[in-house]
């Protein structure tokens, strides 16, 4: 119970960030870049192993953007130039110019590499079809629905291959799912195509949402676990969940990835104790709010350590190995369940 994990991305060490910039300018060849991506992946997997994260991620050291990465690997997409997403931030929004195909697996090689470095389970990390559709231009498919469903078939094949390779956990991120409330059923339908027939545990991560509008649909999401940002919303979602009959697992974001501030162990432990008043211990997977790639490597490491330490304290309390320091009622109630 209370298995710790991450949402996906981890920051790239300086040497890799530099190497990627050099590779873009053609000053570094593909093989040399790949060696450094492997080195960074190895370092992150070892780090998670050492501090005791239960379900490990490869840290996506070889990805730039979560949609562009797939777009670069899948024929049918073409690269475009810069568009702004906010402030002074730009990205290359992919264009669907033809039927999207998957002649070979996209993530299985990296997953296999990461899994070879640890005895802990490594999560397979995919971007969901609705999000890929919403974050791309479309010049080929006749409608948004046709686009999402076509992409869903492609991502399903990838998920099947991850499962065949041995992945026990497969996360399909859908941060765009709450963009258009009138399309939520389409997003759910497309995600259902991806997860259909999978035996691996399936997870989806959602962020930037209008949670109140999404809440009634949460149980309809065709996954075992829903990962949400709680910390950034000051844990107000606990109140919303109390009113829901929510029986899926929850990836519980307990540290804010948009803030430089390092949460204290006691603060995170306390929020986990509050969570126990809303969820059963075996429902809860403590993790950061979102991918940590926006933090520095040191900040990311510190935040992950805090999660592990806080979870250990609360786990011990639940096992009776440690006397709860605060909020004994919630913990006691959780132990009875």
């Amino acid at each position: 119970m209370l298995l710790t994990t991450s949402v996906g991305s981890l920051p790239k060490p300086d040497y890799l960030a530099k190497a990627r910039a050099q590779a873009r300018k053609g000053e570094l060849d593909h093989k040399a870049l790949r060696r450094l991506e492997e080195q960074a992946t190895r370092e992150w997997v070892q780090f998670q192993d050492e501090i005791g994260i239960d379900i490990v991620v490869d840290g996506e050291q070889y990805r730039g953007d979560m949609v562009a990465f797939f777009a670069e690997q899948l024929p049918g997409f073409k690269q475009s130039s810069l568009v702004r997403s906010y402030g002074n931030r730009y990205y290359r929004k992919p264009i669907i110019a033809d039927k999207v195909r998957r002649p070979r697996p996209v993530t299985v090689g990296w997953w296999t590499f990461a899994q070879s470095l640890t005895s802990r389970p490594v999560k397979g990390m995919l971007t969901g079809p609705y999000t890929i559709m919403d974050w791309s231009f479309n010049e080929y498919y006749p409608s948004r629905r046709a686009t999402a469903l076509a992409l869903a078939g492609v991502i399903h094949e990838e998920a099947k291959d991850l499962e065949r390779a041995g992945a026990q956990y497969i996360q399909i991120d859908e941060p765009a799912i709450s963009t258009r409330l009138d399309e939520i059923d389409l997003a759910i339908e497309a995600l259902g195509v991806v997860t259909k027939g999978l035996r691996a545990k399936t997870i989806t991560h959602i962020c930037y949402g209008n949670f109140e509008a999404l809440a009634p649909k949460l149980m309809k999401l065709p996954v075992d676990q829903i990962d949400l940002e709680f910390a950034n919303r000051k844990f107000e979602l606990f109140g919303a969940f109390k009113r829901l009959r929510f029986t899926k697992e929850v990836g519980l974001g307990v540290v804010d990835v948009h803030s430089h501030r390092l949460e204290s162990v006691e603060e995170v432990a306390d929020n986990l104790r509050k969570a126990l008043a809303v969820f059963k211990p075996e429902q809860i997977y403590p993790d950061p709010d979102c991918g940590l790639k926006t933090r520095t490597p040191q900040e990311a490491k510190d935040k992950l350590r805090v999660i592990v330490q806080a979870t250990r304290i609360v786990r011990d309390e639940l096992n009776g190995a440690r006397k709860p320091s605060r909020r004994p009622a919630a913990v006691a109630a959780a132990r009875k369940r």
Binding site: S80, S81, L82, V83, R84, S85, Y86, G87, N88, Y90, K93, I95, D134, W135, F137, N138, E139, A176, T179, R180, Y208, H258
Partner: protein
């Protein structure tokens, strides 16, 4: 039929006027570049996007809103009473803006966009229209911790926009446009919205325009009839039903048809655009029609934005 744009333009053009804005803003944020240094870059890019609109054959141009981070914070940042908060999604786009929070009575101490407008006008002999966020969109995208009531908030923003519009008109702006994308979402309080728009346009010695884009417009259009504006811009791309709503409306104002999709790279054909012109020609005389993209061009990469403008002008020129 005249051609125009809705407002913003890509701030960077890898195969055009370059990406200097990105580095300049980064350096300015780190205080390695002075305000004047940043302004120089903004002016260079503004001049370039105005030249591009001229080259494409656009009749009424804008400054491309190169300095604008989003639709509402350029105004809110320069008013007293607002604090600028965290990122929020900009309607149904994968684009984010910073949400203004209102803490006290909003106050405009001095002209806000006047200098920028005067610079843009000095770059071209074409008419340059000034673009402002509409009162309802400012209110809808802000968090109100002061009035805690839509109507007084709307009225105070409308009064501020009115002062700004009068200033711009006095400075020679031929057309002043209010963008109201928020009217496409949820159930706007239309009576209060109309009142606010009428406050904003009162006594403005220029052509006034109200632009609607994104969301669903079929319910909103009829309710806007009592608005005292000269021109209404309607996005007929985002909602396929909008063109029917336009056709059913009894038009007493000019109409700007948002007919080229500025949120997708797929290039429209001249035939498709002519089909839309055919529909609106029956409800509004050609002399009272404008054609423009459905919204600002900044959602597109620069190359596609340019192609879309060229196609728009081509379609209008070939329309008999």
């Amino acid at each position: 039929m005249l051609t125009t744009v809705v407002g913003n333009f890509p701030k960077v053009a890898e195969a055009g006027y370059g990406t200097a804005v990105i580095g300049a803003i980064n350096r300015w944020q780190k205080q390695e570049l002075s305000d004047g240094g940043l302004e120089d870059v903004f002016q260079d890019v503004t001049r370039a996007v105005i030249k591009e609109q001229e080259a494409a054959g656009i009749d009424v141009v804008t400054d491309g809103q190169i300095r604008w981070e989003d639709l509402v914070t350029p105004l809110a940042r320069r008013l007293e009473g607002f604090e600028i908060n965290g990122l929020e999604r900009f309607f149904d786009n994968n684009v984010y803006y910073r949400r203004p929070i209102l803490h006290k009575t909003p106050v405009r101490k001095q002209p806000i966009f006047l200098k920028e407008y005067l610079f843009a006008r000095s770059c071209t002999s074409k008419p340059v229209k000034a673009v402002l966020p509409g009162p309802y969109t400012v209110v809808a995208l802000s968090e109100d911790r002061y009035y805690r009531n839509v109507r007084p908030f709307l009225r105070s923003i409308a009064e501020i926009l009115n002062e700004e519009a009068r200033t711009l008109a006095k400075a020679g702006a031929v057309m002043i446009q209010f963008d109201e994308p928020a009217l496409g979402f949820g159930k706007p309080p239309m009576k209060d919205v109309v009142e606010a728009i009428n406050i904003a346009t009162t006594g403005v010695q220029a052509k006034t325009a109200l632009y609607l884009y994104f969301g669903h417009l079929d319910g909103t259009l009829p309710a806007l009839r009592p608005c005292r504006v000269d021109l209404i811009g309607v996005d007929v791309v985002s909602d396929p039903k909008a063109i029917t709503a336009v056709r059913k409306q009894k038009w007493t104002k000019e109409l700007a048809l948002g007919c080229v999709d500025a949120r997708n790279t797929k290039l429209e054909s001249v035939t498709e655009l002519h089909a839309l012109f055919d529909v609106v020609k029956r409800v509004v005389p050609k002399g009272r029609l404008y054609a423009n993209p459905n919204c600002g061009l900044e959602f597109l990469p620069h190359e596609q934005a340019r192609q879309k403008l060229n196609r728009l002008v081509e379609a209008v020129r070939r329309y008999k």
